[in-house]
Symmetry: C2
DNA sequence: CAAATAAATGCACTTCTGTTGCACACTTGT
DNA sequence: ACAAGTGTGCAACAGAAGTGCATTTATTTG
């Protein structure tokens, strides 16, 4: 519990009760989580609060946003010391067409691509879709 | 003009006036196009018609949908003979943070990724973001 | 050619997600 | 204790995607 408070403080986020709960929730889930998802988990909290909490987390580098192609924004905790802005830290994501979960494959970085002249890449997003470990029956 | 009719017919799409116009519009644009974009270009046509036309095109393999991370669905014409479903035909897309246009880099295929055991990839989406040729001043 | 059938189009409306404005509650520092 | 700043909740809005149904247009069939 204390570790969470510390982690938030380190990133410049004031550790309120709500924020600690949300952090804990994200930490327990292995998959990327949408606002709606969190909303149902925290029925008593307001959607705006959850929304702004996620935005704050994102701003401060606590979570990173994931676009998995479903059109719904998802969030997942950043690794300790990860630097999402840097190109070399960009990992890929896997979206399971069966269970609909999206997970970070933090070990798998996005390969470098040689672009045509004149193109400057600043960011990249790679999502693989298919059947995940759990759903393929191992 | 006749070529468009033929192309549509080949793909099992009845070449109505509307559809030919939309096809032509897409062919003239080099960038991926959103529904809203088309809507403003065809102010007199109904949004539903445009919407369903794009869906039909997509079903029949005339266009492919692009998710460029903006949260807005975009469409671009498929190359003749392209097989968007096949993994080896998956090209990457480039989204310019300056002019906000998304273009297909059909020459650049998505590199193959070695996934952990149990994961089966069926589809992939790679979007690079940065500054495009035009905006980088050559 | 006319009737019957199927496909395409247009209108209205709904849903879902993301987002913002404003007021109130709470925390923090002096 | 007070003032300033931050967090939270309520309400309302915006934009895009999608659906149902009526109407028009095209295609087939007798």
């Amino acid at each position: 519990m204390k570790e969470i408070e510390q982690r938030l403080t380190e990133n410049g986020v004031r550790p309120t009760a709500m924020r600690i709960l949300i952090y804990k929730y994200l930490a327990e889930k292995e998959a990327a989580t949408s606002l709606t998802h969190i909303e149902t988990a925290f029925a008593k909290a307001d959607r705006t609060t959850l929304y702004r909490t996620l935005k704050t987390f994102e701003d401060k580098g606590v979570v990173h946003q994931i676009d998995d192609g479903t059109g719904i924004q998802k969030y997942a905790l950043c690794e300790t010391g990860c630097n999402c802005e840097l190109e070399q830290d960009l990992h890929l994501h896997f979206h399971c067409n069966n269970c609909n979960e999206t997970i970070c494959l933090t070990e798998h970085k996005i390969p470098h691509i040689n672009l045509p002249d004149g193109y400057v890449a600043e960011d990249a997003n790679l999502v693989l879709k298919g059947i995940c470990e759990k759903c393929s029956g191992k």
